[in-house]
């Protein structure tokens, strides 16, 4: 080989190697950047840790003490076959005031009333358990009605609420719990549908003492807003935030306790909603990011199909989806809704339901489920609930899934007789109605449809599903929702 041939071969090799490697690098980088994002799954805040966990912790906030008007009851649901011990520490505005050891029976529930441990207007509780497999939720009740919400398994520096109302006659209280050992400082920002972004000075630099609670009455400095999203940012420390919403009066009103979302999610699911004639169902979609969000709304009907809707939510703003205005959503028929944000922009979605019937618990606010899971735990309907109206299961995947509903009994999860395994089509809601008055009728013995609402339920599916358990007495489906926990 002479120099000329050698030179040509060498230059060819060098150019080919450099170019080829560059192309491969480009392809790999593109593939990594454009990798299909995994399906959204339930965020850790509402996920029950594994039974074998060394310990687990929950933070409950939003309820009041005995003197606060909406006293809370903490419900511990043990999914394991062994009893779990732990400690409940109750905090007030001034800090930790009382602790109580607890033992949660195997496959059973335990209720703890914080007001019995400490006194104060606003209470919060830290539940630390010597193991996993236990879900902790809380319920509140007052003359307006009752509400249940999950406790949070984590603290976070930011929390978001998609909706709240300070319209005349409504009350909106934001509770902040700092379980850490250093003081937290919090800014509260409001995004209203009519006045835009609000940062009332009184809500800036709110101090939340270490181990203590702070409560912010949003009506004081942001009254008169029919709908507003709330953004809670801890400048220092890590907290848990919840909103207690009061609607109207006792004759026609409601009470809602909502834990915030610690992070926006690309998917929110509501397994069952019903647009009752005369009432209203409104979904509030909050985009806290600095980029506009394109949200696809998939509707699942029990019969037939409906084309998805599309929403564009500008950056740092909210958009409302009023179901009554959507012709493709039939009235008085249950439907499932899934909000999927395209791209990487996460959103927060909440649902406001108003019943046409004048009664307590005629209006309510509830969060959707941020993603699906294959196993769900739903605690029993807490007092003063009187029973379950329905249990809905919605398939979030593209293929049919098989769903099995079991009741948590002393002997372990026991499939509910008569329900068996059901196949749920894609995006379709499966609504399992409990016999009316089953709970009040005191049905007992064995796991039957009557167990829905009476006992904790374990829903197992062959694919990711979302579930929703509505409780009685309510004026309309979706007003009062029993929280569900994803099981590992």
């Amino acid at each position: 080989m002479n120099d000329a041939a050698r030179r040509a071969a060498a230059i060819t090799m060098v150019v080919a190697a450099l170019t080829g490697a560059g192309i491969v690098d480009h392809l790999v980088t593109e593939r990594r950047a454009g990798a299909v994002t995994p399906p959204a799954t339930a965020i850790p805040a509402i996920r029950v840790s594994q039974p074998a966990a060394e310990s687990s912790g929950w933070y409950c906030v939003g309820g009041t003490g005995a003197s606060g008007g909406a006293p809370a009851t903490i419900v511990l649901t043990n999914t394991t076959d062994r009893m779990v011990t732990g400690m409940v520490t109750v905090a007030t505005v001034g800090g930790v005031t009382g602790t109580r050891p607890v033992t949660v029976p195997a496959e059973g529930q335990l209720s703890v009333v914080p007001a019995q441990i400490a006194s104060g207007t606003w209470l919060a509780a830290k539940v630390v358990l010597d193991g996993g497999g236990v879900a902790v939720s809380q319920s509140v009740a007052d003359p307006l009605g009752w509400s249940a919400a999950p406790c949070s398994a984590e603290t976070a520096p930011q929390w978001w609420f998609a909706d709240g109302s300070t319209a005349p006659g409504n009350a909106l209280q934001l509770s902040l719990f700092n379980p850490g050992s250093t003081d937290a400082v919090v800014d509260v920002t409001l995004l209203t549908s009519d006045a835009g972004r609000l940062q009332p000075p009184a809500y800036q630099g709110v101090s939340v003492p270490a181990g203590g609670v702070a409560s912010v009455n949003l009506v004081d400095h942001a009254s008169g807003h029919a709908s507003m999203a709330t953004e809670v940012t801890a400048l220092r420390g890590s907290i848990v935030a919840a909103q207690l919403q009061g609607f109207g009066q006792a004759a026609f009103g409601g009470l809602s306790l909502n834990i915030g979302a610690p992070s926006p999610s690309r998917q929110w699911a509501f397994a069952q909603s019903t647009s009752v004639s005369g009432g209203s169902v409104v979904f509030h979609v909050f985009n806290p990011s600095t980029k506009a969000a394109r949200v696809r709304v998939d509707l699942g009907l029990e019969q037939g199909t409906a084309d998805p809707l599309s929403l564009t939510v500008p950056a740092r703003s909210t958009t409302a989806l009023v179901t009554a205005q959507q012709s493709r959503i039939p009235a008085n028929m249950p439907f499932a809704v899934t909000f999927s944000s395209e791209g990487k922009v996460g959103v927060v979605v909440e649902r406001q339901v108003v019943s046409p019937r004048a009664a307590a618990s005629a209006a309510g606010e509830s969060s959707g489920l941020p993603g699906g899971a294959r196993r769900w735990l739903v605690p029993a309907v807490p007092p003063p609930g009187t029973g379950a109206a329905s249990l809905a299961v919605a398939d979030l995947g593209a293929k049919p899934v098989t769903v099995t509903v079991s009741a948590l009994t002393v002997a372990g999860p026991e499939p509910i007789a008569g329900l068996g395994s059901r196949v749920v089509g894609p995006r379709q809601p499966l609504v399992l109605a409990a016999p009316a008055g089953a709970l009040s009728a005191g049905a007992s013995g064995g796991a039957s449809a009557a167990s829905i609402g009476r006992a904790a339920l374990v829903v197992t599916a062959s694919g990711p599903v979302a579930i929703e358990l509505d409780g009685y007495p309510v004026g309309s489906p979706g007003v009062t929702v029993v929280p569900a926990f994803a099981l590992s």
Binding site: R6, R7, A10, M13, H26, A53, S55, V128, A153, S181
Partner: protein
Amino acid sequence: METMVPPVVLVLVTCDPGPAFDETLCALAAQDYPELSVLVLDAGSALDPTHRVAAALPGAYVRRLGENRGFGSSANEALSMVEGAAYLLLCHDDVAPDPNALHLLVEEAYRSNAGIVAPKVVSWDDPDRLLHVGMVVDKGGAVVDRVQTGEIDHGQHDSVRDVFFAPGGFMLVRADLFTELGGFDSLVFGMGEDLDLCWRAQLAGARVVVAPAARVRHLEQLASGRRPVPACISPGEGTGVTLQGLQRRHELHAALKAYGPLHLVRVVPQIVVLAWAEVIVAIATGNRQRATTVLHAWRWNLARLGNLRTQRAAVASSRRLSDAEVRRLQVHGSARLTAYIRRTVAHGLSAHLDAEVMRPDPPKRRESDAMRVAAWVAVAIVVLFGSWQLLTGAFPVMGQIVPIPTWSTMLHDFVSGWTPVGGGAVQPGPPALGFLGVAGMVLFGSVGLLQKVVVLGCIPVGALGMARAASSLRSRRATLAAVVVYLAVPLAYDSLATGRWDGLLAYAAGPWLLVCLNRASGLEPFAPGTASALSRRVLILGVVQALGASMAPSLLVLAPVFGLGLAVGTGLADGRNGWRAVKRIVVTVAGSSAVALALLAPWSIALLAGRGRWIALGGPVPSPGSAPGWGTLLRLGIGPIGDTPLAWAFLVAAALPLVIGGRWRLKWAIRMWSVAIVALLAAWSAGHGWLGSLAVPVPVLLAPAAAGLALAVGLGVSAFESDLSAYRFGWRQGAALVAVVAVIVGSLPVLTAAVGGRWGVAPSGYEEAVSWMSHASPSPFGVLWLGDPRVIPGGSWPIQPGLSYGVSEDGLPGVTGLWPGSSSGQAPVLAADVGLARGDQTVRLGRLLARNGVRYVVVAESLTPAVPGYDSPVVSDPPADLLVALQRQTDLRHVIGQGGYDVYANTAPGIRSFVSPTPPLGARWIEPAAEVAAWVVALGLLWAPLRRRRDRPAVPLELVPELSAA
């Protein structure tokens, strides 16, 4: 048939010719020049050579002169004996010209209109080795050869050019010029008559050129010591005059005779000063003979001032050119002084005195000596200025640049076989502890200075290695270019700025490994060498590898990367002809790796036998998402300095030898590019996690690429000097210009970074961020570090790609953590605890960590703590779930959450003591003793040949310049 060539008379001077004379006669007889007459002048040989001449050259005329009056005086007989010749070919009796040598000389004489033409003179025994290709002098008449001792003839000097004088062994002189000059100086009996003649010829306006196409073998019996200095060569002075003495006095004589009055006034004082300085130094260092030689030169010339005046008048009468015009062909400065300084620097004072060899550079090189020195000084200034803040201050704690314990602690840990890694582990001590311990002791315990030496010292060590590697290019400009480019690639400074000590070590070791492998390959221009030479190369390479790998185990992959690149490149460049070289490369790499592992045993054995062998070798796997892209790798810029498009320029410069190179330069350019591409591909694969568990750090793998590209640039300069002239003017000359601009442009990022004085290194590291811990907690306490392995200070173990953990005692991690060894102590337990927290398996991580003495958890998110608006360090976020999991823990208090790191204090009760008890000193003495013994054996094997070489008698100065022989 009538010939049309000018008649030439060959004047052959003999004096007791040796056995080679017959070969000389045969070679002369074989000349293909048709108009050649031979005149043999026998200068007093004991035996009449006539019959020997007649046997080979029947037509030759032999004249016996009766006495040896020296070559010049004897040759002058031709002035009266020869008529009608156009040229005289003056030659010694120990030369053997190629058959066409005379033909080519005459051709060149006509073509160049030269008065004197010299051939390329090669060794008698080894015609591949050059002796002379024309010669030059400095202003004082000191002779400088254009070739280096033993230089192989690769055609690098095969261009016709003007020289100051032609060596006298075989010299074609125009007959009328010889007559006009009056022949040789009759006072010069030997060693310098050719210089004198040519100098006068230059002044007379005649060109002196060398025609390398004509080749002559020369035995140089007198200069090589084969023939004693005859007593008659220096009448009245006995045999006490050495060849060096003759040379020095004749050089001085020529200078005193040739310069005009103005130049004489200017030059003589300089010569006097240098001579006296030389005498003083020679006396001071006990070299009396040298002092005598210098003094003799002056005494001899001063004793002949009368003759000198007469001869100066004769020169003046024939002068046609001024001294200034003639001095264009002289080298600047003092060749002797420069050689003295160079040898003193290289070998020390004593080595210089006994073995001074004045083989200064060829004229054009010498002309650029000042520029080269200035360039070297400028490079040194840039590097020093760029490092001054680091040299005068302390290093921040970041990455692998972490505090070094006291030398006694390191030696204790090395000898005891106990390291505080992971809370304490008993294992064979890393040899690096021994090396650093001894180094710290030598530096009187100054660990701060030790850290500067082992970190910043990597840059000059790498540059020296590149100078060594590029010295094979046989071009000082090429060497300078290669070194400048190697210093200007951002790799070293980016490694420094990102706290990658292993990158710096690879930068330092890379060129040295390349030197060993290049030489072991036996590829042109390196001699293939014997099996024992190859064994020696293997041993040297093994020692270099072991030294590097002891500090950074990942450096063990460098030799295989270099070897693979060289093998692939050799396959491309040489095809099947390179198979033998490839085998030598493979054997060298395999053998040297085995030697390195043996030298590092038992530490290396424990390391590789452990389950985490690949992690110990390459370190934890960083996050693939933050892997540098192909463009970043091509720029060799993995940090802030190389993060600019200007860094692409070196690729352009390195492409030059592929475009204009020829012969071995093109082949080596292919090999160097092959090395670079193999290293770049390996770095890309490692960065993207394609090498599996063997996550060799990218900076380490980029070192071979940097070395390969820098050497390619050097090859480009060498090709520019040697090969470009073979092309007609065109785009290739433009390519050379582009390459020069590319080198300048590519150097700008580093030059700019030098202004800051700290190469982009952050002003402060984690030392201040965690200093409060020791005040807040009783010692000893543990600190658990979590984050990307690239930002965790000290060593770490992997949890997952992009997340590692390290453990330190009482705050900052130390340098001992950089060598994780075979045992990681209790550290894995801590990692398991963190896994529980991340897996939502516990909210009481503090309680778990308390069992192992951990009081603080630090999550490093950036290389150094960030100071907003002032410092923006490299950021590498840990997995998102880590902070969420830590926030969830009920017994970890979030103490600090800004500035690029988070600190959690453990609030769990009952935190235990962190450190395991230290075993007694010498509990595992066998292992360190074995390591020391292995090094002693290896160094002994290396030292023995060096000592034999040193004990060999040095070549006396007077034998080397080889001005004229016989």
